[in-house]
Symmetry: C2
Subunit: 226 residues, 2 copies
Amino acid sequence: MPTPSTHAFLKHIPLFTACHEEELARLAERAVEQRYEKGQMLFQRGDPCQGMYVLVYGRVKIAIVARQGAEKVIEIIHPSQSFGEAVMFLEQPYPVMAQAVEDSLVLFIPADTLFAALDEDSRLARRMLAGLSMRLRTLLRDVETYTLESAVERVVGYLLNSLESSGGNVVNLPVNKQTLASRLNLTPETFSRVLQKLSEQAGIVVEGREIRVPDSNKLSEMRNLA
Amino acid sequence: MPTPSTHAFLKHIPLFTACHEEELARLAERAVEQRYEKGQMLFQRGDPCQGMYVLVYGRVKIAIVARQGAEKVIEIIHPSQSFGEAVMFLEQPYPVMAQAVEDSLVLFIPADTLFAALDEDSRLARRMLAGLSMRLRTLLRDVETYTLESAVERVVGYLLNSLESSGGNVVNLPVNKQTLASRLNLTPETFSRVLQKLSEQAGIVVEGREIRVPDSNKLSEMRNLA
DNA sequence: CTGTCAGAATGATCGACATCAAGAATCGAA
DNA sequence: TTCGATTCTTGATGTCGATCATTCTGACAG
């Protein structure tokens, strides 16, 4: 399955950059390319987990599914991000589901391949530990956000965060507004109203999935008052 | 600092049970016993992290502190549990604070000691990865609980969970009701009212920190309706 | 015993966000 | 272009849990 480019691709994933060439070659060799169309599930809650994923292109959402079908988006995966490692180590079924929200290509790395690599290279283990720690920190921030911040604060926080990582003064929403709303733990209606309010009071301009933020300071101030 | 018993104690912590005797001995030797009185802080948000902790006896709460002082309890640490590992791997300041809610004794394991042990023993690394993954799963369940469940459901869930791990039909609250309320993301008032309601409708009996649950099925049913 | 103080319970009120219900806009396929 | 289906917006109404305020309880020091 793997093309020569798999090797090069993995080399640029933070998790694997420190690996020796041979190790990388073996990982690349055993990795499986999987294509998913928009809307297809990669796995569902309860499925057994046999490895980890790295997203090459496209977009994947990770969500929890409650009884009576309500779903809550936990994370939106962008290219080069990995996911599913934690479940692999636990050797338990997935507690979440993953679905492609665009046509996507992922690399699937079988558990035993990765475990072998871990035994050989303590640096990889260290990176993996750091990676999971990072994930933990992110999730902790989410808990903080959900429990301590209001709807407006959550949206403002998201926008400022996106601005920061993109550099410019425009945010391009990575998914449709429903999905993003769920990620921010809002209903689509509330999300819409918050954007409306920020347009009036903080001068942002919403055009479809593109949001321009002429004055990020003004936006930032919305967090504190009201 | 370490007494001979430190070695024996560490041996029974899941994380370290698989370690070789010599390794364990070195960890025990370098571990530092620290005593904290009720109310004392182990560390605050922003403090540098130089190692991980294992609680020997007492009780410790981990909490996030928002601006204007509001605090939200993330976790209540029981004896034999470890905490602070994730931050150690990230080499960033603590994103949370830790405070003794009872007189407590902890073992502090310096980062370099642990890193050395990790390099030597890939099984320890694997256990550590599993440990962090477990933590991640727990936190994910919390997110699920906070975002998808009502106040009554959260309290019922907590009680049933406690019953399950203790075996009997009595739950002894590990901390005062304010703190537990915060852990469940409730105000003390709401928590009190929910317990009141469960007394009337599910037959539980609340006496201080002791809660008797004569019929756990009846309690369980409260989750679904209303 | 008495005063004090933290913890807990109870009552009254309020507000943020969800829900329900239509419309409006956007997109994609024929 | 046109039609249909999503996706998004907007409005009216409802509700869960927070907040504010008071009372009650029990533990403990003096």
